[in-house]
């Protein structure tokens, strides 16, 4: 069982650390997108007006006539702005509009937090192979958790909170690994199981249901209509059916307009919707998911995506996700510690150390590099969103090359240390970066999404600095 835990844990862990880190960030994808559009900082939330919605409906009609499969997201407390979006193969991009008058708000194009969502569920290699790898890794996590429980079965209760940092280094890492593994066991099992089940059809395509990936890049709108009936009466009617402020999406297809419930409106993520005729705005159908399998899917998605939850619960998920990532990183490090004495000079061991550094320390640096690139690239750079993504992967690749250089050299520990220094310097300076590259009145007067990101990065920077000092003195 130890062998199984070790190898499944290591091979799966390399993927799972990426999934957990990116997934934790994806919990705040909307907030990160807002941080990456600092132009919105000057905008004050306002209620949606009928005129604005109807005006934006006209813009969507034009876009769809030009073959772009656009749709509308309505303002929510998390993102109080009207957006017209389309899918680019990885993320939903588009223009922001003021909900009061429907005029466009000039924002920089960016994939924002959706990069992390894509990285989480498909390693940016969707919709098939990447998703398949993460699906297998999720099953691997269940196996690793099960084997870990069997290995430590007798000491689960008595050693629940045992952590001995003053013992030998291996013992301390093992304690940290077991401590996090036991305490976050409910979260890990729930996330691995719901993740595996949600994308299960991908693993068993012979039973139908397709691969459940996102639609491809080129999906014709199939709509030649130049105008739509006004959207605001449809919205009011849909709100009468589903309740006030529950509609989040307006989708367009085959001469119809669907007023779809927001993912945040209920625990069960079912996407119930009211269908209206695009020509005259009459109600055609009300679709409520009553099929048990679809409702069950909605429950599992609700548990996994947690879009319905209040902010404190999402923070709990975020911290649990980061703890999960740290737990698996500790597991990877233990694997290296175990094999360093006997196999430390072998090529495969050095490769394993390179990959471990690549996912545990280089990835967080790349995430910060992404935020930095967003603020440092000029706003009207052509293909800006694309270049931000390129910057993310470039920083990650450079981190990996540096990890390889150190791992294959005589001083691998220096590689870890340098990564922590780099991470700390990137993270601690996010706050001044935000201050310098965002024009906002009253920076110190309120606590908003921008400062939340700044201070979270700052806290992680302090943690990295602490680890760096410990590594330097040990």
């Amino acid at each position: 069982m130890g062998w199984l835990h070790e190898w499944i844990g290591f091979l799966g862990g390399l993927v799972l650390v990426v999934c957990f880190t990116a997934g934790s960030l994806a919990l705040f994808d909307i907030e990160l997108t807002r941080w990456m559009q600092p132009e919105l900082a000057r905008y004050h939330p306002a209620p949606l007006s009928d005129a604005a919605l109807d005006k934006v409906g006209g813009i969507v009609a034009q876009m769809r006539q030009n073959g772009r499969n656009a749709f509308i997201t309505l303002p929510t407390p998390r993102d109080p702005i009207l957006r017209v979006l389309h899918f680019n193969g990885h993320a939903f991009l588009g223009t922001a509009y003021s909900p009061t008058d429907g005029f466009p708000v000039l924002t920089r194009p960016t994939d924002g937090g959706q990069l992390f969502f894509d990285l989480h569920h498909s390693l940016y290699r969707g919709p098939f192979w990447g998703n398949m790898v993460t699906e297998i890794a999720a099953i691997g996590l269940l196996i690793a958790v099960g084997s870990g429980l069997i290995i430590h079965f007798r000491s689960i209760i008595p050693d629940l909170l045992l952590f001995r940092p003053f013992a030998s280094r291996t013992r301390a890492w093992m304690d940290a690994h077991i401590l996090a593994g036991l305490l976050f066991l409910p979260f890990m099992v729930m996330m691995a199981y719901t993740g595996a089940v949600i994308h299960g059809p991908r693993l068993f395509p012979m039973f139908g249901g397709g691969h459940h990936g996102r639609p491809g890049l080129h999906r014709p709108s199939g709509d030649s209509r130049a105008t739509y009936a006004p959207l605001s009466p449809m919205l009011h009617e849909a709100e009468k059916i589903f309740g006030p402020a529950t509609i989040g999406l307006i989708l367009f297809e085959n001469g119809t307009v669907s007023m779809t419930r927001a993912d945040s409106s209920s625990f069960v993520l079912t996407r119930d919707h009211a269908v209206f005729s695009a020509q005259d705005g009459t109600l055609v159908d009300v679709v409520r998911q009553k099929d048990p399998s679809r409702r069950l899917g909605g429950i599992l998605r609700g548990l996994h995506f947690i879009r319905w939850a209040p902010l404190p619960l999402r923070w709990l998920y975020f911290l649990s996700g980061i703890a999960g990532s740290a737990l698996m990183s500790a597991g990877l490090i233990l694997f290296l510690m175990k094999h360093r004495d006997r196999r430390g000079s072998r090529f495969l061991f050095r490769l394993a150390e390179t990959l471990t550094m690549g996912v545990t320390t280089a990835l967080p640096i790349a995430c910060l590099g992404y935020l930095w690139a967003n603020r440092l690239f000029w706003s009207d750079l052509p293909e800006r969103a694309h270049w931000e993504i390129e910057a993310f992967f470039l920083v990650w690749a450079v981190g990996l090359v540096h990890a390889a250089w150190r791992s294959f050299g005589p001083t691998p520990l220096r590689g870890w240390n340098e990564h922590f220094v780099l991470f700390a310097s990137f993270a601690l300076t996010v706050l001044p970066l935000d201050f310098l590259t965002r024009t906002s009145n009253g920076y110190l007067s309120s606590f908003d999404v921008y400062k939340a990101v700044d201070f979270t990065a700052f806290a992680f920077g302090l943690l990295a600095l602490f680890i760096h000092r410990r590594l330097a003195t040990s």
Binding site: M1, W3, L4, W7, I8, I139, L142, I143, V145, G146, S147, I150, Y193, A196, V197, G200, L203, F204, M206, F207, P292, S293, L296
Partner: protein, 105 residues
């Protein structure tokens, strides 16, 4: 002391565990497939859902059971078994398909 550590090493060769893992994974996939098929065929309502949910719980458990079984013989799987791995997997798949057809009938 030396004898005991040698014995220990002999009992857990990488090849033995790798073969067990590969066979276990094949069995896991077949079990998942079989369970989905058995619960879907001829059933409606909550039964296929239970099968679907159960399959993903059973899959890791099957591998853990496979790894809990005591080692075969002296703890070695001869390298000659490796070439026979693929035919064995195909045979397992065939048996599972036949079982599925039987359940359909």
């Amino acid at each position: 002391m030396r004898k005991s550590s040698n014995n220990k090493r002999r009992k857990s060769p990488v090849l033995f565990w790798t073969v067990r893992l590969l066979l276990g994974l094949a069995l896991v996939y077949l079990c998942g497939m079989g369970m989905l098929d058995a619960f879907r065929t001829g059933h409606k309502g909550p039964v296929p859902i239970a099968g679907y949910l159960g399959a993903f719980a059973v899959m890791p458990i099957v591998l853990l059971v496979v790894f809990s079984l005591p080692a075969l013989g002296r703890g070695r799987v001869p390298a000659l078994l490796l070439p026979g791995l693929l035919p064995s997997l195909l045979l397992c798949a065939r048996i599972a398909t036949s079982a599925g057809s039987f359940l359909h009938a």
